[in-house]
């Protein structure tokens, strides 16, 4: 990690600072992200490939990973729709209490996740405010995989709202007026003009909500019930392995999550990087 630029690295601007900035960035990134992750991979590798595969293929591991990624994907999908709607309402309408709603969107960022988990569990439990009526309909939320999705929707919501909101604000009213004068009805305007313009932001929000959900631990464990093979998420499985002093086992699950997350986020970013370029912004 040298700060001096090799000859083939073109100075990007006449303003100085590239070398220093890149050096600090790489150092910080190494200390905080790269070295700990490398340690994780080393730990997992220390047990040898045969054992690694055995842990990776264990039924309980596979079930936990499937639940973590499946529920996160579902929750991110729900957030994409729901968050888009909230952003729309906040940007387009002026109503009493708008600022309160706007502030409330950020609460999942700020609240201790355990508090959120306990609150959700209490409300969605079979005797809770929402859980009871749902129970009479035969729908169980708390202590099932559905409960996991509910918790992940909660913690991922602000990501979609906060990425879509500024883009919606930027859409000039003239564009919608132009569509209306050209004969498009409201529905057509929304689907052909508004949604395509916010799609890159929506995709970014989706990826962030998804990534956050995959790693979420605190709020989920209270509402999930944590039944192995049914409602046990991968981060919990890691903690369980640690409590059993099975450090290598924990590391293996960690590495699997790391690899899967990295690949999925990279794919999504590549996909919508292409979209962004086509639209001419960024």
């Amino acid at each position: 990690m040298q700060t001096a630029a090799a000859p083939r690295w073109r100075q990007p601007s006449i303003l100085p600072g590239f070398g220093l900035a890149l050096g600090v960035t790489l150092t910080a990134l190494s200390l905080v992200v790269l070295i700990p992750l490398a340690g994780l991979v080393l730990k997992a590798a220390s047990i040898g490939p045969a054992e690694f595969l055995a842990i990776a293929r264990a039924e309980r591991t596979v079930a936990a990973l499937r639940l973590s990624f499946g529920a996160s994907f579902l929750a991110a999908l729900v957030n994409a729709g729901f968050g888009m709607l909230i952003a729309w309402v906040l940007v387009r309408y002026r109503f009493p209490g708008r600022r309160m709603v706007d502030a409330a969107v950020d609460l999942p960022f700020a609240m201790p996740t355990a508090v959120a988990g306990i609150a959700l569990a209490a409300i969605y439990a079979p005797n809770g405010w929402i859980g009871a009526p749902l129970d009479t309909l035969g729908l169980k939320v708390a202590y099932t995989p559905l409960g996991v999705v509910v918790a992940l929707v909660f913690i991922g919501l602000p990501f979609v709202v906060r990425t879509v909101q500024p883009v919606l604000e930027e859409i000039e009213p003239e564009v919608e007026e132009a569509a209306a004068l050209l004969g498009a009805d409201r529905r057509r305007t929304i689907f052909t003009v508004i949604l395509p313009s916010v799609f890159p932001a929506l995709a970014t929000g989706f990826v962030m909500a998804f990534a956050r959900a995959v790693g979420e631990y605190g709020s989920v464990i209270f509402i999930a019930g944590n039944v192995p093979m049914v409602s046990e998420i991968a981060p919990l499985l890691i903690v369980i392995r640690l409590e059993q002093f099975d450090y290598a086992g924990a590391a293996v699950v960690g590495v699997l999550m790391l690899a899967a997350s990295f690949v999925m986020i990279l794919l999504l970013n590549l996909l919508h990087g292409g979209l962004r370029r086509r639209l001419g912004h960024v």
């Binding site: 000039e172 003239e174 564009v175 007026e177 132009a178 569509a179 209306a180 004068l181 050209l182 004969g183 498009a184 009805d185 057509r188 052909t192 003009v193 395509p196 313009s197 799609f199 086509r278 639209l279 001419g280 912004h281």
Partner: protein, 349 residues
Amino acid sequence: MSVAVRIEAVTKLFGPFPALRGVSLEVEPAELVALLGPSGSGKTTLLRVIAGLEEQNGGRVLFDDIESHRLSLRDRRIGFVFQHYALFRHMTVADNIAYGLKARPRRERPSSEAIRQRVGQLLDLVQLTGLEKRFPGQLSGGQRQRVALARALAIEPRVLLLDEPFGALDARVRKDLRQWLRDVHRRTGHTTLFVTHDQDEALELADRVAILNDGRIEQVGTPDDVYDKPATPFVCGFLGESNRIGVELAGGQAFLGDTPIFPATHNNGRGAADLFVRPQDVRMEPPGGQGLAGVVAAVRRHGAIRRAEVAVAGLARRLDVDLPSAIVPAIGETVGLKIVRATVFGPSA
């Protein structure tokens, strides 16, 4: 008698603030009319009321004698060109132009082959053939505005409305587009209203110019009419350059102090009046004559002509006087001034 757009006593309030105070205007088929005025005069508001993007508080707008509020935005068939283009950024040029055709209800929608042909014709008309696959972000400002015009023309509009169409472009491109728009109008013959604050643009392009001020139409007429026979002091001061001289009228003469400076023969009123004199209508003469006299304070170049600023006793502002090339006054020289032509606004008989 046919009138393409008839505006009757339209008023529009924004909160307590009146943006239009009873505007009436008739536009004939295939006419090109400019709405000219300073910012805040209500010209854009008027255009948006005609388009149906704002609802008037009073008065009526009629298209071919049909009351506009009976028509939906779609049925008004307004081609609208926005100052900042308002193109759909995520669509190609071709898709932008085809948008209005594709938005029609299924039974009125042309076949995709017909749409493709129409887009081709329009691209040809706006001289952008070959750029149909580009995105708006990859075009220059002038090209974007031409795409916006093609998109508006695609729906075969009843009326074409342009809101400061060249306002966001640099001077050179503006001039080119002006001629080009004139040409397109001649070939397509759409009834057209455009808003501008640029008087050169209005006078050069329009068949008729409507001058707005403070929510009212001050004067409507051909460019020659409004320039040579301004109906109000505002029009006189707004169009072209004028010296405004406060005078006393008496016996068909305009006096500055005791000096008779201009014969106002058609006006027999008495009392204070305003004399508007264009710089080219003042002649510089040797001093010692009957009329005005002053001291040359500065000589500057003003494009093709030279212009002198002459300080005249009794006037707070210096008079602008255009100079023929033969006359080269020295700074500080005393000169005589003869007003050849002027417009008088003041007490009428």
